[in-house]
């Protein structure tokens, strides 16, 4: 019994050397760590992804594995290198992550978010655009915008996002240096004065859900101004960005009128944010086939998913492909699964799984499940 356990421990140790990295700060990651897993601390994880940001199936895995471990992969390192190399005084550079379904775009984004948090960026993170535009639960709240004629507000979603924003940037918001530049008058009695901190604006949005969309609009404008004036550096991350450019949303007004994405106030605010008319920031977007209906998922490349309009909006951007696992990454992942007791059996299982999953990370995870 003892020898068996000892052997077991030995094996785990030997594996641990090959697939894990103890470097938990993304800024320190480099080419040597490609394919290795690093663990995000639970409290950090809660701060960053409490209101979404990690795919559901991955969340399930983290529960089973009792840890949140993300693989260090080439695309994330690539973007980090680019961020380091870029001049912050120039207009923001848009990075577009693209790739097949299940190749790990969202997790790459999560890695980058962690990096941004560590580097002290102000994070503007939209976990999944389709959540706003394409998912229609029974109690989807929708009102006509009061400030903009012909536009539609999604107050609940907006408030939720503000909460997400608040949680992610709690440290920075405590810092009261970030002040707004002008007065905002919401109603006769409610108004936010110039010079009050951003946090107050956010609080107002969360408390008065009715104004949440307008608050977001104002907030994003303010943040742009703040970034331009070098008071903060901003990291914009939007997952499923191409949803903004799909011709139709699934939202209906009470009068059964179909709504186009550009008729939603949130869309306009965030599209404004992704323009390159400001500096001292980074914009990372992912475009995903899953963000559009099945019939429009023929290709995963940017021009197809963004349509002409979206492409022209982003152009020039840096496309970055998130590909399938390389051999090294696949092996490391398999070892990690073995370590987390998720995979067992003879070693030629890996060769077969590699073949049947075509090294696609999501498929690999799925196929390991019943083994």
């Amino acid at each position: 019994m003892f020898t068996r356990n000892w052997k077991h421990l030995c094996r785990r140790y030997s594996q641990a050397v090959t697939f894990r990295t103890s470097e938990i700060y993304p800024a320190q990651h480099n080419e040597n760590q490609i394919g290795l897993f690093y663990t995000i601390k639970p409290d950090l994880c809660k701060q960053l992804f409490n209101h979404g940001g990690l795919p559901k199936s991955f969340m399930k895995q983290t529960k089973t594995f009792t840890e949140t471990a993300i693989m260090v992969r080439q695309p994330a390192l690539d973007i980090m290198d680019c961020i380091r190399a870029s001049d912050m005084n120039k207009p923001v550079i848009r990075y577009v992550l693209y790739g097949e379904k299940g190749s790990g775009k969202s997790l790459t984004l999560a890695h980058l978010l962690h990096y941004a948090l560590e580097e002290g960026y102000l994070i503007l993170h939209v976990p999944w655009v389709s959540e706003w535009l394409r998912r229609t639960p029974r109690h989807k709240e929708m009102t006509n915008s009061q400030t903009k004629e012909g536009f539609v507000d999604l107050p609940l979603d907006a408030a939720e996002w503000l909460l997400h924003f608040k949680t992610q940037n709690q440290a920075l918001l405590k810092n009261c240096e970030l002040k707004i530049s002008k007065d905002y008058e919401w109603s006769k009695r409610e108004k936010t004065e110039a010079g009050s901190p951003i946090a107050a604006l956010v609080e107002h949005g969360i408390n008065r859900v009715k104004y949440a969309c307008d608050v977001i609009d104002a907030l994003l404008l303010e943040i742009k101004i703040l970034s331009n004036s070098k008071q903060c550096k901003t990291f914009v991350a939007i997952d499923g960005f191409n949803s903004f450019y799909y011709p139709m949303t699934r939202l209906n007004t009470p009068t059964k009128k179909k709504i186009k994405p550009e008729e939603v106030t949130l869309t306009n605010s965030f599209l404004e944010l992704t323009k390159n008319d400001w500096n001292n920031g980074v914009v990372v977007l992912t475009i995903d086939q899953l963000a559009v209906p099945d019939e429009n998922q023929e290709s995963f490349l940017p021009r197809y998913l963004l349509y002409k309009k979206g492409f022209e909006h982003l152009d020039p951007f840096v496309p970055i492909e998130v590909g399938r696992y390389t051999d090294k990454e696949f092996l490391s992942c398999a070892n990690y699964y073995r370590d987390r007791l998720w995979l067992r059996g003879p070693s030629d299982l890996e060769t077969e799984l590699k073949f049947t999953s075509a090294s696609n990370p999501y498929n690999f995870m799925l196929q390991c499940a019943p083994l």
């Binding site: 680019c82 290709s299 021009r303 020039p316």
Partner: protein, 343 residues
């Protein structure tokens, strides 16, 4: 029997007749009568008398003519003997022909009464001397082939229009074949000498009748009942298309980039966004109109030309991993970012 009864009714003539009849029944009745009168010899009843076998007359037909080949001269004109297509006849062909499949060692059936020889289509009416004489006779109706049309190229050069139609040879009471009315017209698009707009319009007018690989326009007509009508029709179609393609209609001015024949980078949003970005970098952002954007010289932008090339290729060639990759390289150069590292 009825004859006999009738006669019995007619009186005195009866008995004599009856006797006669009886006599006829007995063998050699008459001779016995005569002999009885002379020698009184006993009559022998010859039961097993052999009958004289009826000899079948072999009729030698006098009206069957001897074979014609026997009368043929060796220097005769064969064309006169066999002037046209005709089923084989053994007595006219002076050749020792045999035809048929037989077991080994036997001789095949000869030419007479041989149905196999009659079945095969023969060319006895087309012997070389006959063909020669017929060609001689036809010569007066022929004209000489033009000297200059000595090669395919020269033919194509002088006669760019090619008309293809088929004639059909078949056996039936009617000599008409419905397929014979089909007329195909073929012409190289380059030979029509159209300008850029007209070429484009012509291509759109003819649709899939134009093959970009060979640059050939093929117009087929089969809707009219006769060949001549179809020929007129294809000529009409070509003429109509040709003249129509030179017309410039008002609505043609409304053609936009979305029709996507060719992505001209200079007219597009991509150039505008590049210039905006460039001016922002230099902090000289100003409002410009379309003409100014078009006129802006991108050579002052570092790596701008490569960016232009990559976007144009991206749009014109279509989206594929390679064009995206090239675009990525160009954009990184433009922004001064490190290139993707190959792991």
């Amino acid at each position: 029997m009825s004859i006999l009864i009738k006669r019995s009714k007619s009186g005195c003539f009866n008995s004599a007749c009856n006797v006669k009849l009886w006599r006829l029944n007995s063998t050699s009745a008459d001779s016995a009568l005569k002999k009885g009168e002379e020698e009184e010899e006993f009559r022998v009843l010859d039961i097993l008398k052999k009958r004289d076998k009826m000899q079948r007359r072999v009729v030698k037909r006098t009206d069957v003519q001897p074979d014609r080949i026997d009368r043929m001269a060796t220097n005769q004109n064969w064309g006169n003997v066999w002037p046209g297509p005709k089923t084989f006849h053994p007595s006219s062909v002076p050749l020792p022909i045999r035809q048929g499949y037989v077991p080994k060692g036997q001789a095949p059936p000869g030419k007479k009464a041989n149905a196999e020889l009659m079945k095969i289509p023969n060319f006895l009416h087309l012997t070389p001397p006959v063909i020669k004489s017929q060609c001689e006779a036809l010569k007066q109706f022929c004209t000489e082939w033009p000297n200059l049309l000595n090669s395919e190229e020269s033919i194509e050069k002088h006669y760019p229009l090619e008309i293809i139609s088929s004639d059909y040879c078949h056996a039936s009471p009617s000599i008409r074949n419905p397929l014979a009315r089909v007329v195909i017209l073929r012409v190289q698009l380059a030979d029509l000498k159209l300008d850029k707009h007209a070429t484009d319009k012509f291509k759109r007018l003819v649709g899939d009748r134009y093959d970009p690989k060979t640059d050939l326009v093929t117009i087929t007509a089969d809707r009219c009942p006769t060949k001549v009508q179809n020929l007129d029709y294809v000529n009409y179609l070509l003429t109509a298309c040709y003249h129509e393609s030179w017309n410039f209609e008002d609505w043609e001015k409304e053609k936009t980039e979305d029709d996507m024949e060719y992505y001209d980078w200079d007219n597009n949003a991509s150039k505008r966004s590049l210039i905006d970005w460039y001016l922002r970098v230099k902090n000289e952002l100003k409002i410009m109109n379309d003409e100014e954007y078009k006129a802006f010289d991108i050579s002052q932008i570092e790596n701008g030309a490569q960016y232009k090339a990559s976007v144009s290729k991206y749009m014109n060639e279509g989206e594929n991993p390679q064009t995206v990759q090239e675009y990525s390289i160009a954009v990184r150069k433009l922004f001064g970012l490190p290139q993707k590292k190959l792991v």
